[in-house]
Symmetry: C2
Subunit: 282 residues, 2 copies
């Protein structure tokens, strides 16, 4: 862990019992001693570590280790989910990444249980899975806009916990991250999308409409975190008004999970001396 | 195009009429004036260009442009396919990449036509698709080891041309790259996998067995290139004994295709002035 980290985000950002979202300052940088410049240095310096850990995970997966990681990214529009994918995940080997961005469900997907399309995207052994949005939309936007009956929303929290406990049992470490921004910061970021021709395509008029439901979304997040931050799959709430902080925090959380795996390079699955002879003669 | 390029690889590496694989020196660096150090500078400098072009492609895809790119990577074992994925594709935004590595077909896949599993992996509009191996294995390894009847192998060349012409018609630019290495270079790379504990997992005893069929593979490549290097989907043969050269050559080929698209950022699909007002009030 880089020395600028004074407390591991795995501790300081974890949503444990009694967690209150409203108490988290989106502009804070808990556990980190340093400014943007330090943060950018940490991001670059730790990128190589993450890439190496991921290669070890992948190599072990090839050799039969069942373990893998699933990073779930949630947050309000413009919270920085794509930036995490680009700047944190993008520094690893594409071959070992299983990335899935969940959009509004299609007509076909809506004919199945809400977890159906998600279960199909669970990463294979050795992979670093990333969900850009996820089944949590089914208890967030769907709750805010009452797109499902209240009893169905209620059912989903339990279904999610059962599903994620099943993942954990099969060696899948689930890392759930909420990127937490303020409405003021969101306004700035949306404004930027309206000011820069290279960002128009990211702008969606619906995002402004959704701003009108800020309070309801925060409530929905609070409830979702309370109900689904389990030992098997805890939530981490990452202050995200400072993009640089959010990126190094997620990088550090991923590094922490992978370090916990104690990933040795696999031993040869063949006779090393015999193969050296065969190659020499070939 | 970086000034160290004296001839565009799109010209110098293209397998046109009368192409002979045996005439290509795997250690050469056609069209490029510079050494490894220059090559590494070019790779780093052009990475940002490729990333920007890919973002434009992706943005246009979101707005309805049908165009996309499909890079097909072929080559003998250790030719450097994974390195291209890591160092060239890895510099772009993961969200815009559709990467598929084709392994030996499963029992289920073998019950379908050889193009079935490939057609399912064609990239969506706006995406940069990458096939690490491909349907060409069905006329390479399958030809060398007579895993299909000769008439079936014969049929496949035409089927591939029809399939790829259909892709081109739908706005998919197919870029087919053979990474061409020498048997001596392969031996060195395999030796490295036997010498370094962090590379054992990449070693496969079958690779040494396949070395015994080097001549047959070169013949199979020659025939495949002759039969399937079409105007719609030409082959490029990239000398790959020098990894740095292969990487900048593929990077340059990709850049060239995307530059040919003349990718302007999409115009806003909404009323810019109205949205600015709405955001201000929100």
């Amino acid at each position: 862990m880089h020395k600028a980290w004074k407390t591991d985000p795995a501790k300081s950002l974890k949503a444990g019992p009694g967690f209150t979202l409203a108490d988290v300052d989106p502009a804070s940088t808990p556990g980190f001693k340093g400014d943007k410049k330090t943060g950018e240095e940490v991001l670059a310096a730790d990128a190589a570590d993450l890439a190496e850990l991921q290669q070890r995970l992948y190599a072990r997966g090839v050799e039969g280790d069942e373990r893998r990681v699933l990073l779930i990214l949630q947050g309000m529009d413009t919270a920085g989910k794509d930036g995490i994918v680009r700047h944190v995940i993008g520094a690893t080997h594409p071959e070992g990444v299983h990335l899935k961005s969940f959009k509004a469900p299609t007509a076909w997907e809506r004919r199945h249980d809400f977890l159906w399309r998600v279960a199909r995207q669970v990463p294979a052994p050795g992979m670093l899975g990333v969900f850009n949005r996820s089944h949590y939309e089914d208890v967030l936007i769907q709750r805010v806009h009452q797109m499902a009956r209240p009893e169905e929303i209620e059912r989903r929290y339990g279904a999610i916990n059962d599903f994620e406990a099943g993942l954990a049992d099969r060696g899948i470490s689930v890392l759930k991250v909420m990127l937490h921004i303020s409405p003021e910061e969101q306004k700035k970021r949306l404004q930027e999308r309206l000011d820069r021709p290279d960002k128009y395509w990211k702008y969606n008029p619906g995002d402004v409409t959704e701003r009108g439901f800020w309070k309801e979304y925060q409530e929905a997040y609070q409830i979702a975190i309370e109900r689904t931050s389990t030992d098997a799959a805890p939530w981490y709430v990452v202050p995200a008004d400072k993009k640089w902080f959010a990126r190094i925090a997620v990088q550090r959380l991923l590094d922490g999970v992978l370090e916990g795996f104690d990933l040795k390079w696999p031993l040869p699955s063949f006779d090393l001396a015999a193969e050296r002879k065969r190659l020499k003669k070939s």
